[in-house]
Symmetry: C2
Subunit: 456 residues, 2 copies
């Protein structure tokens, strides 16, 4: 036999069936919340033109292009194509392709794999599923959408992890770029350092920024940092019922410049809608001036989401507001706001932290086992009947010892086994075995549906 290396290519992992069952349930829940909020499903191709992907921020180091092993002469239609690395550039292309058919605001969701030629390392995948929503406006897009999108994040994690506390942290980029402008330093440089604030010690952070801040503005900058850090250390001040502290935001940022004031105003508005209009508990979100979302293309609201007690996992759902989705393709102003859940990365972290139960591989609730050749026909008919009642069920069809068949159910996590032998045929009953507690009951065929309804 020739030797093949059958392992997954580096960076392209796969789940076990039990993990995949969780992933599928999460996708179904995420999809349901997206649709409950009126987002339309879009599935764009995995493959787009290379120059289009590169023109909207694609990193050529990470981009996979497609070649055929054997290219036929005269068929150039395969060349110049590459794999999508996110859902945002394909969204821009989708809007460009279908601009005249679309109704704005255009609310779409996308769930599916994206591919990046990353360096292989723990927690970095080269193929991973992303779950995105975006609302795209034509010319304008109301700030209320920024609050609605945050509310969607909250609906999702309330349903995915009902026992787990999480918090959506919201900031506004204009506050940060306003600070950078006030300090006369490059906003990109400022955002980079600001974004890494939690990854370095306070000393390092101060040192880095101090080097950048002009001497005449050091005192004012210290005040801003104090305010931002006080808020960070004591998020409760933000949730005081008299909203008093909201004025401090204006006091602190409003006097810097118009941009900062506008950012503060927007942030306050988004938080007010969430709390006052959408009735969302202040425990589920907080303004947080440390959020910057790195070097992304955001221009206003930015979001991160953190699991309380598991902050080291990083943000599990992020996004923000942008001014320009697709001007390069459409020549039109298309502002939008969106979020993305990096599902593969998130689940792999949750599986590793054992925050999710993954002990059941099979969807079957019942395995039907025949204890005698004469009962085989009855067992097949019984599975059709139980399936028609709505339960996932399978027959063990191979000629193996009973112990082996029970073992099969155990290994796959199938909770119940039904055994039918000649005795049961004669008595019109089945043996119903609970695989977890080992308990076995004789159930008459007449009452089987009622019994299953109770147990499943």
């Amino acid at each position: 036999m020739a030797k093949f290396n059958t392992s997954c290519p580096s960076g392209f992992p796969e789940w076990t069936p039990a993990q995949e069952r969780v992933a599928q349930k999460w996708i179904a829940t995420i999809r349901d919340v997206f649709e409950k909020n009126g987002f339309m499903p879009i599935t764009t191709p995995l493959v787009e033109r290379e120059e289009n992907l590169l023109s909207k921020g694609g990193n050529p180091k990470e981009m996979y292009v497609l070649k055929r092993i054997l290219d036929e002469e005269g068929d150039s239609s395969h060349s110049g194509n590459a794999l999508r690395f996110d859902h945002t550039v394909p969204l821009a292309l989708y809007v460009a392709r279908h601009f005249n058919e679309l109704s704005f605001p255009f609310r779409r969701y996308a769930i599916g794999p994206v591919l990046r030629g990353e360096r292989a390392q723990k927690g970095r995948f080269r193929q991973f599923d992303q779950c995105d929503i975006d609302v795209v406006g034509s010319e304008n897009l109301s700030l209320k959408n920024d609050a609605m999108v945050a509310a969607v994040i909250i609906q999702i994690f309330e349903r995915l992890m009902p026992e787990q506390k999480f918090i959506v942290r919201i900031n506004n980029r204009k506050i940060l770029t306003g600070i950078a402008n006030f300090l006369n330093i490059s906003s990109q440089k400022f955002l980079e350092i600001w974004d890494h604030r939690e990854k370095v010690t306070g000393e390092e952070f101060n040192k880095k920024l101090n080097e950048l801040v002009p001497s005449g503005k050091k005192e004012k900058f210290r005040e801003i940092c104090d305010f931002a850090i006080t808020q960070k250390k004591n998020p409760n001040v933000w949730h005081s019922s008299d909203w008093e502290n909201w004025f401090d935001v204006h006091k602190t940022f409003g006097m810097l410049n118009k941009e900062s004031a506008e950012g503060a105003e927007e942030l306050i508005t988004v938080c007010r809608i969430l709390r006052n209009d959408l009735g969302i508990s202040p425990k589920q979100f907080e303004p947080d001036f440390s959020i910057a979302r790195g070097l992304d293309y955001y221009t206003g609201t930015v979001y991160e989401t953190h699991l309380v007690g598991y902050e080291s996992l990083g943000s599990i759902c992020s996004g923000g507001r942008y001014d320009d989705l697709a001007e390069v393709f459409t020549g039109k102003k298309l502002p939008g706001v969106g979020i993305s859940i990096g599902l593969t990365r998130l689940l792999s972290q949750l599986f590793e932290a054992k925050l999710i139960d993954v002990d059941r591989s099979s969807p079957s609730e019942i395995l039907i086992v025949s204890a005698s050749e004469k009962a085989e026909k009855e067992c097949l008919a019984l599975s059709s009947q139980i399936r028609s009642w709505g339960y996932p069920v399978e027959n063990y069809l191979e000629d193996k010892k009973l112990a082996k068949q029970f073992d099969y159910a155990n290994k796959l996590g199938i909770p119940y086994v039904i055994v039918v032998g000649e005795d049961e045929l004669n008595k019109k009953c089945v043996q119903l075995k609970n695989m977890k507690i080992g308990d076995q009951e004789e159930i008459s065929r007449d009452t089987l549906q009622a019994v299953l309804e109770k147990k499943l």
Copy 2:
């Protein structure tokens, strides 16, 4: 503005949101039927090692390999990888990777895209979704699985197209290879001609086979063809309640050789289990000796599925039994039986034939519209409430005229619009407009949930 060609690359189409909604519903139904029958979800990577894909029947002309635009020195981990072209080779690799963790029979399903560098032509896609199930045994696999798998096809199309008649046509490869052996002609050549029987005229077919058939066997072969064609022309003889005609199969094929007799016996057994044990109506399946499934790797049962009245669409779900899933990777005998639905191709045909309704883009059942600035807050709270009742709902949040907002609902196919203005605020009611019939009712907030429950 630079000019970009933003169209989809050739062979990589995308659905409209309304079509995508249908595709998602179909996938959910297919997934549910697969799981109701105890199949476990597996998602293998899009990317596998090129040599593994080639070793199990990959066509190098159709295979896409991955390159990075810029390859970093010393990082060779990206090279030698290619995109999967089906779900069967990845299944073989999955079984090889996880052999010791698996319980046999291993029942898995896979739903997702595969990629082939086909020549671009109508109805041929380079990326398309396939939905597969397979049951894989270790050393042996009971023939009963062949019947169960046919029953899954029937469950799927009963749910997907309840109004549409369809038929699963079943044959057994051993019958055909037995005929070829009896005639002393290459079974590959025979299968090829047999498979194209319906694509050529009877004359052409006869001429082609006559050339191959040795003169001493022409009479017997004529008898076989007559039998196969009679059966084909009058499928009802197969469904006579006295099963009389089943003996003709043995009479016709059993006397050719052991292989044909075995194929006939297996085919009869599969059909008997379907009809007698699983209680499936004989209108939903038929033995059909013309089915060959081209040059695939099947060795026993083969299936095709046809929509009655739309036979020109070809088979909408096909598959069969194979002896060897992964011997090249595992050195072990792993027989299996499986089917595949080419979802993208099937749906594109059904959309084109207008067999499926695709007039609704948005999942939203209700669009909430504020007729006054004062009502905006109430409108946001109302959408949270309606969503908590389980209905998909969205707010129109932009500052546009009412007519424009109604137009938005119309274009997306949202069936109801709720309008709240100052009047409605004061009277604690809403205006509920049915967008299809144009009818508008005033509904008190107290009774809104009950009214929606009736209408939605």
